[in-house]
Symmetry: none
Subunit: 199 residues, 4 copies
Amino acid sequence: MTERGEATRQLLLDSATAVFSELGYAGATTKEIAKAAGVSEGTIYRHFADKRELFAAVFTERNAANFDAVIRLPELAGTKSVRENLLFLIEAIKDVERDVAPMRAAASTDADLAAALTSGSSMGPLTPLALYLEAEQRLGRIRPGVDVASAAVALFAVPFTAVTLDRLARAMGSSGEIDMAGAIDVVLGGILPQDEPAT
Amino acid sequence: MTERGEATRQLLLDSATAVFSELGYAGATTKEIAKAAGVSEGTIYRHFADKRELFAAVFTERNAANFDAVIRLPELAGTKSVRENLLFLIEAIKDVERDVAPMRAAASTDADLAAALTSGSSMGPLTPLALYLEAEQRLGRIRPGVDVASAAVALFAVPFTAVTLDRLARAMGSSGEIDMAGAIDVVLGGILPQDEPAT
Amino acid sequence: MTERGEATRQLLLDSATAVFSELGYAGATTKEIAKAAGVSEGTIYRHFADKRELFAAVFTERNAANFDAVIRLPELAGTKSVRENLLFLIEAIKDVERDVAPMRAAASTDADLAAALTSGSSMGPLTPLALYLEAEQRLGRIRPGVDVASAAVALFAVPFTAVTLDRLARAMGSSGEIDMAGAIDVVLGGILPQDEPAT
Amino acid sequence: MTERGEATRQLLLDSATAVFSELGYAGATTKEIAKAAGVSEGTIYRHFADKRELFAAVFTERNAANFDAVIRLPELAGTKSVRENLLFLIEAIKDVERDVAPMRAAASTDADLAAALTSGSSMGPLTPLALYLEAEQRLGRIRPGVDVASAAVALFAVPFTAVTLDRLARAMGSSGEIDMAGAIDVVLGGILPQDEPAT
DNA sequence: GATGAATGAGTATTCATTCAT
DNA sequence: TATGAATGAATACTCATTCAT
């Protein structure tokens, strides 16, 4: 692949991320994607075998970004406060989820599409999140007896849900922003040591 | 509308629910929906102006079902245990979400589609859930100081996330069932009175 | 199938025969076929699963016509003269071949296309032709010792070749009509009784 | 043209012959031809103005080969036996026809394609074949009164038809080899002196 | 009310051809 | 000379929608 080719490929990946995120898989036409990248439709097919492969590449790349947001988290155990760390993280997840959510939605209703995806990539953030919580638990900054895997689910569920409902509300023209921090604090109330109030 | 017409309309609504849930909006063709209902394609247009209106009718009906699952919840305040009530509820939400999730996904990536939806209908379960928690809080079965609106979000997020991730995992061929009860217990740990252990 | 539908199907079959014959399989676009039939492109797909199925239907129908031209031939044994019978037949074959030849050509260079064809249908005329010659041989109007199967090939080869070369010559703008009767007479010289001159 | 360029040109010609013969004109993509020649697609256009010109070059070259097979035939008049000479020739024609037939088929259904061909080149073998028969007729090895032009057609038609039907049978998965020698002997029965039996 | 035939705009994909390197 | 990236017109096929019966 020449340098120019590589650049075009990345351009397509970026444009496709935007278009898929905004319009979903079915709504994102190759015409639109090409236009967004400023290339011809044919060029897509020089870099990806078909639309599904392009989608898979974008989806994997975005999920990796989601994963990146949490992967270094375990190292933070013991620094700052647990609440600070988690709020920062939840915010990062939210950013990536905004791109990924509609793509995941598309993938989950299309068996062929799902087949093109790297297995397991979807639950990316859960494992590192659980690892972090476990480390903090060892340091006594998470209440003993808390099941860290379940706590990770409860924490991840908040930005995940917030983004999805927010998208819908936005599409419907209503406002209805969800108070993520509040929900996180509720969960924190269940996992932080009882003598250390969440807020 | 004759009786026969009404029957056909309901038949279409039921078939469409199944097809939309399984294939999403774009994947659900009118041909498929008509076939599932055992009527001709043309018949759809005698009952609904277009595909979007059919979708909106189905979506609203399903969301109402989701709402029904929680609407009587406030009355349960004080009966059984809070945990029992919530687990029962979360299970009910999960059942309905399985149908609604892919439709919501579709709606959230199609502005025209979203416009056809009754505003506000999507967050159906959140309000009654908060009302219930508030009632329990007054009864002393929920820790004072807990923000019930935020708690409702944290609780609702669990089945919501579980269903969505489960769909994707299933479509991708992986297993990965999410432990909903565990996550709920973590949240409960933050809202039940501290002397009453969650499990 | 309603009456109207049946009529449309036949209309498509007729138009497709003309377009396939003139332009070959690849050259015959669905757009062109639809236009020739005076229907929309989509209508083609109400009657045939895809272009290949339409082609197969046309090809089979035309080959059947070719077969019809010879199937009653054996009954003619003993009537008129052998030469008259064969010249009439060869002319009939030529007429049908003009339609079939380019379609056969297309089929022979496309494995998928060929697969859609009814096996064996292509050599249709050879068998009845051989049967006729055998009957005449029994009547003493064909020289004994002549291999009727081989004679059928030699006779069929003439209109077959004439049509194909003629098409090419025409396409190239040259004239070059082939003298079919002359060639047939040469073959007849080898199969008629020696005391009965061909011409 | 440099030596390297000339070599590339011939390489392309050879590869194109194979690909056109196997897939026909429409089925033979420039990508495939380039790949078969081990060069890039762009290189084709350094040697040929467009695909049609490449096709014309190949077609002419192959037809010339067909012509070569017969051109020296008249010199053989009087040597060996007429039957031996003709059977050898027919076999040679068959070999070349296998390549040419699908290309001729393509040419005959595409007016633009045909226009790119050297006029008259298609009937190559007929003239020398007639010349040979005429020479033999003068030597008394062909029955007087036989129209040599017509005899040439009858003889050429056999391998021509055999190859074409064979291709189709092969594509359709059936066997059905045609007995060329038998058919030739039938024709010979009509042109050899009557006292000299064909076989 | 219901049918199913017909529509035509729209979609992903292919492919001969061009051009900068 | 050769490359391979880019093009854009063309193609088979789909699908929501209309309408005569």
